[in-house]
């Protein structure tokens, strides 16, 4: 950071009220030109709301924004971009029906008299995409891409927009290590080109690896802005964020003599190649692999959400072929994508929670409103869902709190086996710990849990046993403990083991 840094963006007394909530509360700070500025805070701290105001999606209740010395009050994303701000939003926003290339240039097309013409932007975008993930075909329809690939597509779009400030709201939530590395390279290159990057993430390691400065939010308020060099490690940052320290470490549990509850043999789908494993009673099993390694496929197959060949036996019996049968047998799933697969976003928390266990809220088909309300209130309290009421539409919750509602749904099913696909995606450190505590408590009660995650830290933190996947194959199984070799694990999931084995 040798160049003389001027202010790229500053906010002054910025406030945003939702009905009943002050999401952003009188916030003032400055972001330096050409820096990677990280924004951290717990779920619901107000980060996404701030971003939305910067990009014209929301109008501030009060306060002002200044970009490159000029007053900035965009009324829509187009105006924000004209003002030099491009954004990568927390939720995926791609058009499935268009091709990758068409998506890359959406809203930035060059045209003459309304006719589309090729331009430099297209080339830059395609180039950026190739840098991060060369395997994506620009002519492919976006509908055929995986979630991660769509995310990469969006990153490329933002990165190639030519804006002087690029905001990224949790860009790596769905990415694997390998892709994260490539993304970081792109971000650093942007910085070298004097582009300012505002980076939001719950993955603190990324913050330290990438960031120049950090701003901490708590409860909608600005806590501090300072260079990361001046932050004294992870623990201090966490303290700033939540006002206390948390520490996550695996403690070995005694489950040696537990009997198997789930037996999976010769599981095959278009992606999975003959996967066999078992899960014991009271055990937490982690499935780790890169994007597309097959974690989600395994979870969905066990759950009856997708077709497969092979045998899946639970408590000694084959499970029926639908999620309904799986739930009846005592299995519940937290799906990978909360908005499209987990939540009923236009229904309230109360209406979301009971869906997987109808018996508990009804007698002979009639709903019991009181039992339903109790259930919702119970989980709002247990999982610390930040909301003004159980009657709040889940659409209006922050990302992390939405995830908690999905978890509540799943817990309400009172299943013996929980399949958690990316259970803490988009969840803040504090809440993460809470969720891990819930998982551990459940395991101690004798429930079995499968965690499918792209976050190694998470796998190592809570799982008793770890299953490593690579391109649809089960490569290795290992017990967790102090002696696990992280380098080895990374080697295996990136295809190293296969190479070695031949």
């Amino acid at each position: 950071m040798t160049q003389q840094q001027s202010s790229a963006l500053s906010v002054e007394g910025l406030t945003k009220d939702y009905p009943g909530v002050r999401a952003v509360d009188n916030v003032s700070f400055t972001i330096k030109q050409g820096a990677i500025h990280c924004l951290v805070g717990e779920n619901g701290a107000g980060k996404s709301t701030l971003v939305k105001m910067l990009t014209g999606v929301l109008q501030p209740t009060s306060g002002s924004i200044t970009v490159a010395g000029r007053r900035h009050c965009p009324r829509n994303p187009q105006e924000a971009r004209d003002g030099g701000i491009a954004t990568l939003f927390q939720e995926l926003h791609v058009v499935d029906e268009l091709t990758v290339k068409e998506n890359l240039t959406l809203g930035m097309e060059a045209s003459r008299f309304g006719f589309l013409v090729n331009s430099k932007t297209d080339e830059v975008a395609i180039e950026t995409l190739a840098t991060i993930e060369p395997s994506i075909d620009p002519e492919a329809r976006v509908a055929s891409l995986s979630v991660a690939q769509k995310q990469i597509l969006e990153i490329s779009r933002a990165a190639s927009s030519g804006a002087s400030v690029i905001i990224m709201d949790e860009p790596t939530a769905a990415l694997s290590e390998r892709e994260v590395e490539r993304l970081f390279a792109v971000i650093r290159r942007l910085r070298d080109a004097n582009v300012t990057v505002v980076y939001i993430s719950h993955k603190l390691d990324e913050i330290f690896e990438l960031g120049d400065d950090v701003t901490v939010f708590r409860d909608g308020k600005h806590i501090v802005t300072k260079p990361l060099d001046e932050v004294d490690g992870r623990q201090q940052l966490i303290e700033l964020m939540i006002g206390r320290t948390v520490f996550q470490q695996y403690e070995p549990r005694d489950i040696a003599d537990a009997e198997p509850i789930l037996q999976v043999e010769h599981l095959k789908t278009s992606l999975l190649k003959d996967v066999s494993f078992h899960v014991n009673k009271g055990e937490v099993v982690g499935f780790y692999g890169l994007v597309g390694a097959g974690k989600t496929e395994i979870a969905r197959a066990i759950y009856g959400a997708d077709k497969f060949s092979g045998s899946v036996r639970f408590n000694g019996k084959e499970i029926g072929p639908t999620p309904h049968d799986a739930i009846a047998a005592g299995i519940a799933l937290v799906p990978e994508e909360r908005r499209t697969q987990g939540l009923f976003t236009n229904l309230t928390i109360r209406e979301n929670v009971p869906v997987m266990n109808l018996e508990k809220i009804s007698t002979t088909g009639m709903l019991s409103p009181s039992r339903e309300r109790q259930a919702a209130e119970h989980f709002v309290a247990q999982l610390g869902i930040a909301t003004s009421s159980i009657e709040k539409h889940t659409e209006k919750l922050s990302g992390g709190n939405q995830q908690k509602v999905v978890l509540a749904k799943c817990l309400f099913a009172e299943a013996d086996l929980l399949l958690l696909d990316e259970p803490t995606r988009g969840v803040d450190v504090g809440a993460k710990t809470e969720i891990y505590d819930v998982i551990k408590a459940l395991a101690n009660e004798g429930k079995s849990i499968c965690v499918f995650s792209t976050e190694l830290e998470e796998i190592l933190g809570i799982c008793d046993r770890i299953i490593l996947l690579y391109e649809g194959m089960l490569e290795e199984e290992l017990l967790n403990g102090e002696d696990v070799d992280i380098a080895h694990i990374l080697n295996v999931v990136t295809g190293g083991a296969e190479h070695k084995g031949q």
Binding site: V57, N76, P77, D96, L98, L106, L116, S144
Partner: protein, 342 residues
């Protein structure tokens, strides 16, 4: 000794066949319908004789009466691709027909009457667009409102106790009025048909080569994504409604010229026909997908069927046949496309 594993899989024959069927099914349906109608009378007539489907006169007839729906299909497709719908097209068409006929019968020259009617189309479309975009009324409701409104106004413009604007009471329709929809100018087909073809070609270009076409698909495919990407969906939607309004006006002109009168009910039910042909052409009701050309072919199929069957079976079989064709076409199209993609 390579780390990378080839990801390109061999495309199996069945998948390629599926793809082929998905791309060309609408043409296959058209061919099938034409073949069936052509052979239906062969015991009585020769292939091209008067009385058979392939008789050139008959083909001209069918294309001639199809001009209105052929004009509408393309614009309607684009609108539906953007995830919107216009149920008022029938009424807009009627109103345009009445306006056009009133102008003509009162001595306004052709080009001026034509131009003024198109302007009315712009207006009607813009009203729809504004209701949807500015007042944020669901398209179905918004255009049901204008369906009623435009129809009422069209009826209002015709004097009480008469069904349509036509010669009589001292006024006489000019000769050119009927020619536009009826006299052959090229290949024995009238102007109205050729205008439909031109409109369709223009819209194919719009769909494939312009911002409007691409943004329509984006707005229909994922409105939030489009908005957040800075696509001004409001402008796009209003513009598309205007395009549909203009097409409806052209369709109204074609219909009233063909019939030599301004009938305030002449567009009744056109919204259903339009939906029918557009869906038959494989357009997704939820938006994002659809091709102008395929809807054009869909319109040809429906018109060939309804008109071609007239002399074969009693008219009361028409509804059943059209419904069955729609169901079968939709089913086969969707079954095939799912096989192809999974």
């Amino acid at each position: 000794m390579s780390y990378s594993i080839s990801k390109t899989r061999h495309t199996p024959f069945s998948a390629r066949l599926g793809q082929f069927l998905r791309d060309y099914y609408i043409y296959l349906v058209l061919i099938l319908v034409v073949v069936l109608l052509s052979v239906a009378n062969l015991d009585r007539f020769d292939l091209f004789e008067r009385g058979n489907f392939l008789n050139p006169k008959n083909i001209v007839n069918i294309l001639r009466v199809s001009a209105p729906i052929l004009t509408l299909a393309g614009a309607f497709t684009l609108l539906m691709v953007s995830g919107h719908i216009d149920l008022s097209v029938g009424s807009a068409m009627s109103l345009a027909a009445v306006v056009y006929a009133s102008l003509a019968i009162n001595g306004v020259p052709f080009l001026m009457a034509f131009g003024l009617t198109v302007v009315v189309g712009v207006l009607l479309g813009a009203i729809n667009g504004l209701l949807v975009v500015k007042l944020k009324i669901t398209p179905v409701i918004a255009t049901l409102i204008t369906l009623s409104l435009y129809k009422g106004v069209a009826l209002l413009m015709v004097q009480d106790g008469v069904s349509a604007i036509k010669s009589g009471g001292g006024l006489k329709m000019p000769g050119w009025f009927n020619d536009y929809g009826r006299s052959g100018v090229l290949l024995n087909l009238p102007m109205a048909f050729w205008v439909a073809v031109l409109v369709t070609i223009a819209l194919i270009v719009v769909q494939n080569k312009t911002l409007l076409g691409k943004h329509a698909a984006a707005v229909g495919g994922n409105p939030t994504a489009a908005r957040l990407s800075g696509v001004s969906s409001n402008k796009i939607v209003i513009l598309l409604y205007v395009v549909v309004g203009v097409s409806a006006a052209l369709a109204g002109i074609a219909r009233s010229s063909f019939m030599s009168l301004g009938d305030p009910l002449s567009g009744d039910g056109m919204e259903l026909t339009a939906i029918l042909v557009v869906l038959l052409g494989g357009t997704a009701f939820s938006g994002g997908e659809g091709r102008v050309l395929r809807s054009f072919i869909g319109a040809l199929i429906i018109m060939a069927l309804t008109v071609g069957m007239l002399t074969l079976v009693p008219a009361y079989y028409q509804t059943l046949v059209v419904g069955t064709v729609l169901l079968i076409a939709a089913a086969s199209n969707h079954l095939v496309s799912r096989k192809g993609s999974k």
